[in-house]
């Protein structure tokens, strides 16, 4: 406990009957022991600790320096105007129970409101609010306010289980600890608030970006999001299905950083998709999103581009609200899509946003990006865009393209701004189609889309493509519906063209069953009517339907 003999003889603090308010004291010349103790409080390695560790370590050193039984730090919560127990030694239950002391009341409350040190020689005769102090058997208390640049941060107090006369030196040591602790606490609080915001923003950002991209027949898609080095921003990309098998592709960039930008990004992404799903064209969609931004209570600004792609034809309509122009790469003529952008969203209300139409040849890729990817101090944007076109122009794989863009364009030292990138390719059409599907009805429309696309590629006209697709879909439906037990299973659709004749083979692992009822008979009728030849082969290993149709008489 008290090691009076080894300590500098201390002048006692003035003691009142209850508690005494003390003026600040000068630390008197200290012997080596005290230098060591003081140094232990000023140890620079303390600064590297997170708040909780920092406080624990500091309190341990105060406890040792003053040979006290209890040490506690209560932090000032501005919102509730209360002191909240944050760290303690010998008084852990104070923190565990989350003790809160109103400013101005009791021992700690008065230290905080009057911003003075208070010494209580005998707890029994003092105005103590916190019952834990009494329950713990504390006899004497000494506490001081923690103040940084005139602002109250909290209260630090020490206690003794035996009656104790705290001296001037005790107070001075406590003051050194307080001076040491207060800025550290403030910095740690700011840091942890900042880190907290960063964490929240990061989680928010991730939750707002699509978890996985839509898989659709005839397209390959890739996307990347790279946060800035120090905080998240408001970049986003999106892709969703529209009716008729068309795809919506969006990208955007909310001006600003942090939680607010990330939250706004989420709103804009949702708004854009909602308008798009309502059937609005790209230009109209952006006009509506602009109105949405205008109606937000706080001023906000963002750029965005939105495109609708028809994978069956490769036709794509693009509109931009202040966003950088997309690229078309991977084909014979890599190019920047020359569009006339409307003003950024939120800049001012506008009634029109023009659209640009282009066609992606099979193999070509449309690339949207945000300015973080190419903005470099001192280099004109057009020059950066040309450089990116040069870099990505020959890329025929979406994955490679995304990888290359991030690897080559994101500086090693990190980004000042976040980056979003989305690329969608009108996939090359293979000469021979080989598809495998789970035997579930939902795959039928996908199978039809893939087949239609292929049929046009091999020269079928519109009517031929429609009839052949119908026959193939009936054969696939047959494989799904009748060839299986309810256990999971798969089937394949194989299509090839030779000498003006298309051959389709639908193969499954189930047993052929004679058509049941009017409905199945009708499916077979359709197959026979649409194709020149239909044959069904069944074996113990499965069933295959082979159908042929000449495209030219």
């Amino acid at each position: 406990m008290s090691t009076e003999d080894s300590r500098f003889p201390d002048r006692p603090l003035p003691r009142g009957t209850g508690q005494a308010i003390l003026p600040p004291v000068e630390l008197e010349i200290a012997p080596s022991e005290q230098v060591r103790l003081l140094y232990s409080l000023s140890d620079p390695t303390l600064s590297e600790l997170e708040l909780d560790e920092f406080l624990d370590e500091l309190l341990a050193r105060v406890q040792e320096a003053l040979s006290v039984d209890t040490v506690a730090i209560l932090l000032f919560d501005e919102a509730s105007q209360q002191l909240v127990a944050r760290a303690a030694r010998g008084l852990e239950e104070e923190v565990e129970r989350g003790v809160r002391i109103p400013i101005g009341r009791g021992f700690a409350g008065r230290i905080a409101s009057e911003r003075v040190a208070i010494f209580i020689a005998d707890v029994d005769h003092a105005d103590i609010l916190n019952p834990i102090l009494g329950q713990r058997g504390i006899r004497s208390l000494l506490g001081i306010p923690l103040i940084v640049e005139g602002s109250l941060i909290g209260v630090l107090h020490v206690g003794s289980l035996t009656p104790r006369e705290f001296g001037q030196t005790d107070l001075a040591v406590l003051q050194v600890a307080a001076v040491r602790a207060a800025p550290g606490i403030e910095r740690a609080q700011l840091l942890s608030a900042l880190r907290h915001e960063q964490r929240v923003a990061m989680v928010l950002q991730r939750s707002l970006l699509p978890k996985q991209l839509v898989e659709a027949v005839g397209v390959s898609v890739g996307a990347r999001y790279v946060p800035a080095s120090d905080e998240v921003g408001g970049d986003w990309y999106d892709m969703f299905e529209l009716d008729g098998g068309r795809l919506g592709i969006a990208i955007g960039d909310v001006v600003g950083h942090g939680l607010r930008a990330a939250a706004l990004m989420g709103q804009l992404r949702t708004a854009l998709q909602a308008y798009a799903l309502q059937g609005a064209d790209p230009g109209r969609t952006l006009v509506l999103v602009d109105r949405f931004v205008q109606a937000l209570p706080d001023f906000a600004m963002a750029t965005a581009a939105y495109a609708v792609l028809d994978p069956d034809t490769g036709r794509v309509r693009v509109a931009s609200a202040g966003h950088l122009p997309p690229l078309v790469v991977g084909g014979d003529t890599p190019r920047v899509v020359e569009l006339i952008p409307a003003p950024p969203l939120g800049a001012f209300p506008y009634g029109h946003c023009s659209e640009h139409e282009t066609t992606l040849a099979p193999g070509e890729t449309l690339v949207f990006y945000t300015d973080g990817l190419i903005e470099r101090p001192g280099i004109p944007l057009t020059q950066s865009i040309e450089a990116m076109l040069e870099l990505l122009g020959g890329q025929t794989s979406v994955d490679d393209l995304c990888h290359l863009a991030i690897q080559q364009l994101v500086p090693v030292e990190g980004l000042r701004d976040d980056v979003a990138l989305i690329a969608i390719q009108n996939s090359p059409v293979p000469d021979e189609l080989m598809l495998e599907f789970p035997a579930e009805p939902r795959v039928l429309s996908e199978a039809r889309r893939a087949l239609r696309r292929w049929l046009r590629h091999v020269g079928a006209d519109r009517d031929q493509a429609a009839e052949i697709t119908l026959a193939a879909s009936e054969a696939c439906a047959n494989a799904i519906e009748h060839a299986y037990s309810p256990a999971p299973a798969r089937f394949t659709l194989h299509a090839r063209a030779h000498a003006g004749e298309v051959t389709l083979t639908v193969r499954d692992g189930g047993q052929w069953r004679e058509p049941r009822g009017e409905h199945r008979g009708r499916g077979l009728t359709i197959m026979k009517a649409a194709m020149h030849e239909v044959e069904a082969n069944s074996s113990s290993r499965g069933t295959e339907i082979v159908m042929r149709r000449r495209l030219h008489p």
Binding site: E241, L242, D243, G244, L277, E440, P441, R442, L444, S445, R448, D463, A466, E467, L470, S473, E474, A477, I480, E481, E518, H519, R520, R522, G523, T525, I526, A529, A530
Partner: protein
């Protein structure tokens, strides 16, 4: 996105069901059920409009026939609107359905015919 969709209006005492998108094995039953549930016994009958439908297969044809049977037992009429140039006409033509079922080019034709039948009856 829904593969296929159905929208209802009531005209001249008939429930008009307009189909859009694609109807196949994956959604034929639910679309058929939606139409059956929306038909009230106050409706004189149902006009099924396939003009805007992009795809129809044998599963869709089956639901149409089932619907026609359900309506007939309740004394309600059934009419199909299928323009000759519509996509769904393919399946009906190839399945031989158009030979056996009366179809109309437009909703107006179907509604007029239904009204005339009622006047006759």
């Amino acid at each position: 996105m829904n593969l296929g969709d159905v929208q209802f209006t009531r005209r001249a005492g008939m429930l008009v069901a307009e189909l859009t998108g694609e109807i196949d094995l994956s959604n034929a039953e639910s679309v058929g059920q939606a139409i059956a549930e929306t038909t009230s016994n106050l409706d004189a009958g149902v006009v099924l409009d396939l003009s805007a439908l992009r795809y129809l297969d044998s599963a869709g044809i089956q639901f149409m026939f089932r619907l026609r049977e359900q309506l007939r037992t309740r004394g309600q009429s059934f009419a199909l609107v299928i323009p000759a140039q519509s996509a769904s006409n393919d399946a009906l033509r190839l399945a031989g359905v158009t030979l056996h079922v009366e179809t109309f080019e437009t909703q107006r034709d179907a509604l007029r015919s239904a009204a005339a039948d009622r006047d006759d009856g």
